[in-house]
Amino acid sequence: MGVVYIMWLRQLKKYWRSKPRMIGSLAQPLLFLIALGFGFGPIFQKAGGGNYLDFLAPGIIAMSVLFTAMFAGIEVIWDRQFGFLKETLVAPVSRAKIMLGRTLGGATVASLQGFLVLLISFLIGFRVQNMFYIPVALLLMFITAMFFTSLGTAIASKLEDMQAFQLIMNFLIMPIFFLSGALFPLDSLPKPLVLITRFNPLSYGVDGIRGALTGVSHLGIGMDFSVLIIITAIILAIGSYLFSKIEV
């Protein structure tokens, strides 16, 4: 247990000590909330969608979780480049534990980040339907974060340096974000797009978080939970396997 805990603690300490990064990564969600929230709000209202900010805020929270979690996973590449990874890899502990500790740490950080965005959206005027459902939303954020941190770790285990990072950003993270229902409802999309969103893990995170916070969910929170837990278990296993195969 000590190993998992210290890996977890390390991630949290690093997060806490990089305040500029913490603040920097709140700027983007804030911009999205203000620009999109107030920009599209009137149109959304006219189209009969209701309050756009209430629709958008859970999506932007999910976005921060996605970005922070993926980064936390991909940070393995930094550890590799700056040598620290070797220190953990020669230690007499199973790599699965190291990977698990890292992932829990990354997911905790990503959930904290999501929580901070929730607080920011309160300032802008977002209102939850029932305060008691906030812990449910946090739990969903955490599972979503576990998924994407594991995914990031799995990818990073196969990469030597940061050069592929731009590729991952443009061809993986961005499509996952835009096709998740974070920004617009998925009901009336063309068929092929609906299919894609169904295979997008973030769709379930967005839907669940939105359901918990606003009471409006497309697939049902139970469904979202089940899907997320299953795919997270799978990707965690794949990530641990790939991580255990790293040679430096």
């Binding site: 390390r10 300490k13 690093k14 590799r80 220190e87 020669v90 007499p92 502990v93 340096d161 430096v248």
Partner: protein, 266 residues
């Protein structure tokens, strides 16, 4: 006398595609020795160390570290050694103490013992008064000292040092070797060192192996090597054995980046 050989390497080979980095090498290291593994750049030293320390799988051959096979019995093998890598391997965003503590926890040391050893070692490398500073504010020499201290927390049976004295001033180098020799005597700790400083190897090593192009080309004590090559110093012997040509080492982007970082630190 089987158990006296703490490291046994038998017909060890590592291929990267068509390139053979380590070509069928065999050698033994006796318990309690200071063993120098010498060779020009790109000779296969680091690759060998990586295989000995479970970081790389050999293509062929067998290894025994303190009686354990690093491929099959990883955890036992890993408990047996400490290592100071050629490249920096500290977490810059953690304090010196946290880096040490992290290591102690990874090696499953009881809290009390961990604290005692960390304090003792950090005092020894004269970093105790700066224990709560972030490592990123340390100089290259300080980081090196901290890494050496870290490698010793769990009292390994074998200490691997991959070019440990690069970038250290003579004072620090001297200090470090005094301590390592003391540990070597007191705890019967085996030291496996690679270095480019021949006078250093000549001074400290009980036994020497010279490797070039992935093959062992000479082994023995420094006196034996000098006699063999009819030279007066180990440096001359080394040059006679390996030739005067300057070696090109293919650096991956990763190594280039690290080299850049190392350069910045000095």
């Amino acid at each position: 006398m089987e158990e006296k050989e703490i490291i046994q390497v038998n017909e060890l080979t590592k291929n990267y595609g068509r390139f053979t980095a380590v070509n069928n090498i065999s050698f033994n290291v006796k318990k309690g020795q200071i063993f120098a593994f010498l060779g020009p750049n790109g000779a296969g030293k680091t690759t060998t160390i990586k295989m000995l320390t479970t970081l790389l799988n050999p293509t062929n051959g067998s290894i025994k570290i303190n009686g354990f096979d690093p491929m099959k019995d990883k955890d036992h093998a890993r408990h047996s050694f400490g290592i100071v890598f050629q490249d920096p391997s500290l977490d810059d965003d953690l304090t010196a103490y946290e880096n040490m503590e992290f290591h102690g926890v990874l090696y499953n040391m009881p809290k009390k013992l961990r604290k005692e050893r960390i304090e003792y070692l950090m005092k020894f490398v004269e970093l105790w008064d700066r224990k709560d500073e972030l490592v990123k504010h340390f100089s290259g020499g300080m980081k090196r000292r901290l890494e050496i201290a870290r490698g010793l927390i769990h009292h390994p049976k074998i200490l691997f040092l991959d070019e440990p004295t690069i970038g250290l001033d003579p004072q620090t180098r001297n200090h470090m070797w005094t301590y390592l020799k003391e540990l070597n005597k007191k705890e019967c700790m085996t030291v496996f060192v690679t270095t480019h400083y021949m006078e250093e190897a000549e001074k400290v090593a009980d036994n020497i192996v010279v490797i070039d192009h992935g093959k062992i080309i000479a082994h023995g004590t420094s006196t034996q090597l000098k006699n063999q090559t009819k030279t007066k110093s180990l440096e001359e012997a080394f040059l006679k054995l390996t030739g005067h040509t300057i070696r090109e080492e293919n650096a991956s982007t990763l190594e280039r980046l690290r080299a850049h970082r190392r350069f910045r630190r000095h």
